[in-house]
């Protein structure tokens, strides 16, 4: 009997690790159908805007002037956030390009223009596995992100891990609790009636547990997003994903 229990516990542990899956799996068939059909996926409205912005010169140069066609971005989004002294998210990288290379003002991270450009860049990597590199000097940021993921916070005193590792697959309200992998951002959420970034999603979760959200651009937010990216390694990029 005891041996059986041990075997059961071992199976549970291995299946939790092996059963890593995208939030797509936890979404309803109707939401999945919306994501599967590009003609029905509202995220494509932003992708199309992104295509126009890609060609549009700002400060004398467009994205296309240096990078060529959007297809040249294949595989790029799958590697973000990337580590360069600190974790850099894809929206931050776009703004670095704008301010340093184009001499243009940074775009607001939640604005339609930034969502459009990151959706276009993300789409180029659709179907490729997430491959965030957290080796070498990135270890410290990864560990900081992991600690934040496991840290209880807010008036409800819940950590990210308690729901998204411990209770994933169970129901919260009408929806299944997903494992919390950021493999489809920016994504179209029915709840938002629009497109949104991972920052926005994390803000939603943190206000949900009645914690004060990490401010945009803070090292905590960057570390948490870096950890989440690494944690999703191997899942396929779905940008622009559709979620409930």
């Amino acid at each position: 009997m005891r041996r059986l229990l041990l075997l059961g516990a071992a199976l549970l542990l291995t299946s939790a690790a092996a059963d890593k899956h995208s939030g797509y799996v936890d979404a309803s068939p109707a939401v999945q159908a919306m994501q599967d059909d590009d003609t029905a996926n509202p995220g494509m409205l932003w992708v199309e805007q992104g295509r126009a912005l890609w060609e549009q010169p700002v400060g004398g140069k467009s994205c296309a002037s240096c990078h060529g066609a959007p297809a040249a971005m294949r595989g790029v989004a799958a590697r973000y956030p990337r580590f360069a002294g600190r974790p850099i998210s894809l929206p931050e990288q776009v703004n670095q390009c704008r301010t340093a290379r184009q001499g243009a003002p940074a775009l607001p991270e939640e604005g339609d223009e930034m969502l459009a450009l990151t959706a276009l860049i993300g789409l180029q990597s659709r179907g490729m596995p997430v491959a965030v590199d957290a080796s070498g000097p990135a270890q410290a940021a990864l560990e900081q992100g992991r600690a934040l993921f496991e840290q209880r916070m807010g008036q409800l005193n819940l950590s990210c891990a308690q729901c998204h590792d411990g209770l994933a697959g169970q129901r919260l309200g009408g929806s299944r609790v997903p494992q919390g992998h950021p493999n489809g951002y920016p994504e179209y959420r029915l709840e938002w009636q629009g497109m949104g970034s991972l920052d926005r999603r994390l803000r939603g979760c943190m206000t949900g547990v009645r914690a004060e959200p990490f401010p945009p651009g803070s090292p905590e937010l960057a570390a948490l997003e870096f950890y989440l990216g690494w944690r999703a390694n191997g899942l396929l990029v779905e940008t622009p994903a559709v979620r409930p």
């Binding site: 003609t39 509202p42 494509m44 409205l45 932003w46 199309e48 805007q49 339609d112 009636q193 629009g194």
Partner: protein, 106 residues
């Protein structure tokens, strides 16, 4: 963002059923929400939609609140002869939108 995405095949055999799929970027504000100051947000939805094929009406819709933002409309029509499929719609603020695509039959 892009105003509208229209998907429809460009050529069809006579008598063939052609599917028209349309995504319109629109807030579809229901008129039942309050803003941060507690004021009701004025209703602004696309309330009427019309599709013509070579000038003849093939579909007319009256839309109501409770349709989500960025509505997706899909319908079908029978290809008869070459021409244009044209769609027009109008919202509560009087803003008009349109989309059209040629259809070659033969």
């Amino acid at each position: 963002m892009a105003r509208v995405l229209l998907h429809m095949k460009k050529t069809a055999a006579p008598g063939e059923i052609v599917e028209v799929k349309l995504l319109i970027s629109h807030p579809m504000e229901s008129g039942q929400r309050k803003d941060e100051t507690g004021q009701m947000v004025k209703r602004n939805i696309i309330h009427s939609f019309r599709c013509t094929y070579n000038g003849a009406e093939v579909l007319r819709l009256d839309l109501h609140p409770a349709i989500a933002a960025n509505p997706y409309l899909a319908f079908s029509l029978r290809a008869e002869k070459s021409g244009t499929v044209e769609m027009r719609w109008v919202d509560d603020e009087g803003a008009e939108g349109s989309a059209s695509a040629p259809l070659e039959v033969g």
